[in-house]
Amino acid sequence: MLRIECPCCGPRDHDEFRYGGDASVTRPAHDDPDPEAWYRYVYVRTNPAGLHREFWQHVIGCRQWLVVERDTRNHAIASVDLARKLSARKSPARKPPA
């Protein structure tokens, strides 16, 4: 059993989570019309034998999507973070309402 240490809930068996695949791919903007960008996002995977950044959702728990760094050769987990925290860095912060 992988034991994933959810930043909210603590270490849990991986069957409390839903896998979401490669987290290193970049989702094009919702209105990006470039088929090549979408093709790459949906299909192309580096699939490394080694450290893999991947999405897991703590679906039977806090329901947060996480980004886990895990070695695919031995399943050792190097880090776990909230996906939102990482993706928020990429998108502009919202100003608090006046």
């Binding site: 809930c9 039977i60 728990g61 806090c62 329901r63 919202r94 608090p96 309402p97």
Partner: protein
């Protein structure tokens, strides 16, 4: 229930969920805290008891207010620019369990370490019971509650009753 040292009772489970937006969470929490008249649990799994209800943090930006039996729901006005609320009054069932045998019975149901600080009295744990998401609430030395989805509740109470044999 076969075990004399374990009891299970089933009750309704009125809940209100409130959730704040990213970025303005601090503001949201302080206004919520003011309108409830209590401080809020800081991290997921923490709870705060206040007149007639228990505040549980179930996700970084999400709180549940679980009402005691017969208690009136607190009046909540959530500023839509800060967050939102939804009533979850009907969708869950509350299992109350107690007895000296409780840790043994629960060990056959959920992967929660009864002796860990994360499961100490007053703590809440969102976890899986036979693949179903449940909220475990430690209420005492030999007592706890589970909030389970209503549609699964009969299956799950059967499962627990069976585990208590």
């Amino acid at each position: 229930m076969a075990s004399p040292d374990f009891s299970l009772s089933v009750a309704d489970c009125p809940l209100i969920q409130v959730e704040g937006w990213d970025g303005t969470l601090g503001q949201f929490e302080s206004s919520l805290s003011t309108s409830l008249g209590t401080k809020l649990p800081a991290s997921v799994g923490e709870t705060v008891r206040h007149k007639g209800f228990l505040v549980i943090r179930v996700a970084p930006r999400r709180l549940w207010l679980a009402l005691d039996d017969g208690a009136q729901a607190p009046s909540l006005a959530v500023d839509p620019d800060l967050g939102c609320s939804v009533s979850l009054d009907e969708g869950r069932v509350r299992f109350r369990m107690a007895g000296a045998d409780i840790a043994r019975v629960l060990s056959k149901c959920i992967a929660v370490d009864w002796r860990a600080s994360a499961a100490a009295p007053g703590r809440a744990v969102l976890t899986s019971l036979h693949h179903v998401p449940v909220l475990f609430l430690r209420t005492g030395e030999t007592a706890c509650e589970l909030m389970v989805p209503r549609s699964f509740s009969r299956s799950l109470s059967d499962w627990i009753a069976d585990a208590a044999k």
